[in-house]
Symmetry: C2
Subunit: 343 residues, 2 copies
DNA sequence: TTGTAGGCGTTATCAC
DNA sequence: GTGATAACGCCTACAA
């Protein structure tokens, strides 16, 4: 087992000083050709690699990005993560991932863990717990220390930082509008509890579309599903009770499940009921009928967030004066499949 | 913007030496009560946190684990990741994630990036590219340097290290056997190219079950799907040509797609054709009919891998002599749903 | 009880 | 051309 070799080791072996070795390996022209060649050959032979940790300490930058997401099982976060990873690796950054599990406490712990020198900046989506508690002190502490932060998807106005969001309200509006234009009149909304602020935005778009087309707003047609609790049964009962000809669901899981319940009741999709979901993931593609859905372009979102962050990290050294924060909007698009009327 | 505060800052402000501060914050009883209280109060006020990087450099351990997975969009890897994260965080470790994207080159680059001091150990599943190339030098280099490595799922005998696998062959065997016992006679296998060694194992179990029950082995019934290339069309044609009463698929995507093709041909599931998939993910649960599938217990797999790794990392300091590597087998189980005959 | 000094691995500055 | 020195932030054996 050959241990890691350091500059010091090389210096000792070759009987030169550490700084000579350092310079030689950087091909500095302060060093004679002979010495450089000797040192470089030796380094290659022993597979010398500079120690990242030491470099981090010296440079006060780690080339690591901390990512905190609420959940990794949801397709959307997974694709965002992938986008971040892709862009970050391209710039020579590693991605340190933490999962808050929708919990405020875990989010705080993870942030503190990473903020003490492990990373150069954060990318995160707020956990449900945090949104519920409306306590953003851990975020403020981080930004106060001058650590760049980019929020995506689940954001808040309370924290000054760069943000990446999708035009949730508008996308929902367009989806509902599309169904209305195809003659649908009784359109249900399946959403999750309001403290997930994206759900709120999507509901907003839903209501707006109804109003604009003079359709009555019937709260009976809106189902707010509790998080992780008996969702299946509740939504099944819901569909037995309401009389509808279309549904908008705030994620693809709800949408696929809705289709199942409706089909079990003998309804045909899309003839009797049209269905649109959010998150254009694998579920939407493989469902039968395949699901029309709002693509959130998670990978692009991740790349954008990573770009904003890296920009901020690398600019930080130049101007220290009151930064102007940006909010980038990723435009969602509707992918039409079999669960809605073809145009 | 209050910058990060260091021991040195505290020492200067309070006019004591750095080591006094260090000791006081560790509550050493070398330091007088008075001094300790003064220092601790000050540290709390300014929210002092030791710099992880400096500690890593000093201790030569980072409390980071590097995880390299081929893909994060597949449900299985996601759940494994989650398991790793869970266990690791519980022991105070962070998880640095890299995605090899099934590419040998990216795998090598990621490993090198992390091996230079960023992490205390690796957990990984081999990329398809690596399995195809059969070049494991990057893994050997890592283990040679004394960095602990745990392989999971996609492993190789060529590298001496801890491993976590599932009993793939046996699970496939049991799945096929179950279908045979229900009277199925013409059982197809949908698998992926052989260099994904798990596919090979699963095929092994398939053949074994057929042989044991004296069913003819008909290569016409085995479809090897190329990776990412026209999978959909190829499998559709396959189902049009063969006459079968059951299918085993090596993942849930294949399985759900198979059901669709079969249903489109007017076949009823499970009456006409029984279907079993691997990976008991959300697709299996939400498919209609819901899919009987082989649960790989990814989260448990991740936890197990993390446990092996942490054990190894923390033992490393005691005994340096030829370690005995372990291979843990996670037992897959069959989750019965609607796509097979109920017992 | 407190402080000094050396070291972790690297780089940058400056002297020889 | 080469080398000594200091510094990044922290820890600790040892000296005072």
């Amino acid at each position: 087992m050959k241990r890691k070799i350091t500059l010091k080791d090389i210096a000792r072996e070759l009987d030169v000083s550490i700084s000579t070795v350092s310079k030689a390996l950087k091909n500095s022209d302060e060093i004679s050709r002979d010495t450089k060649e000797k040192i470089q050959a030796f380094a290659r032979l022993y597979n010398y690699r500079p120690n990242n940790i030491a470099i981090s300490l010296k440079n006060k930058r780690t080339k690591n990005i901390g990512v905190i997401i609420p959940d990794i099982v949801h397709h959307f976060f997974t694709t965002v993560f992938r986008g971040i990873e892709k862009y970050a690796n391209g710039c020579g950054y590693n991605v340190i991932a933490c999962i808050s599990d929708e919990s405020f406490d875990k989010e705080v712990i993870n942030m503190e863990m990473l903020a003490n020198g492990s990373i150069d900046g954060f990318i995160m989506a707020l956990s449900a717990g945090t949104q519920l508690k409306k306590d953003y002190n851990h975020l403020k502490q981080v930004t106060d220390q001058g650590i760049p932060l980019v929020l995506f998807d689940r954001v808040t106005d309370e924290v000054a930082c760069d943000k990446v969001v999708i035009n949730d309200a508008e996308a929902a509006y367009l989806a509902v509008k599309k169904m209305i234009q195809h003659g649908r009149k009784r359109i249900a909304l399946l959403t999750s509890e309001a403290h997930f602020n994206v759900s709120e935005k999507r509901a907003e778009g839903y209501y707006k579309a109804l109003k604009e087309h003079n359709l009555p707003i019937d709260e009976e047609l809106v189902l707010v599903l509790p998080h992780m609790y008996d969702e299946e049964k509740i939504s099944e009962r819901f569909f037995q009770q309401v009389d509808i000809d279309a549904v908008l669901c705030v994620n693809e899981i709800y949408a696929v499940r809705s289709m199942r319940h409706l089909q079990n009741q003998g309804k045909r999709i899309p003839e009797d009921v049209a269905v649109i979901g959010f998150t254009d993931g694998i579920l939407s593609r493989l469902a039968s009928p395949s699901l029309t859905s709002v693509a959130q372009h998670g990978e692009l979102m991740g790349e954008t967030a990573a770009r904003l962050l890296v920009d901020r990290i690398e600019a930080d050294y130049q101007d220290l004066e009151e930064p102007v924060y940006r909010t980038e909007v990723i435009r969602a698009s509707i992918v039409e499949r079999e669960s809605t009327d073809s145009t």
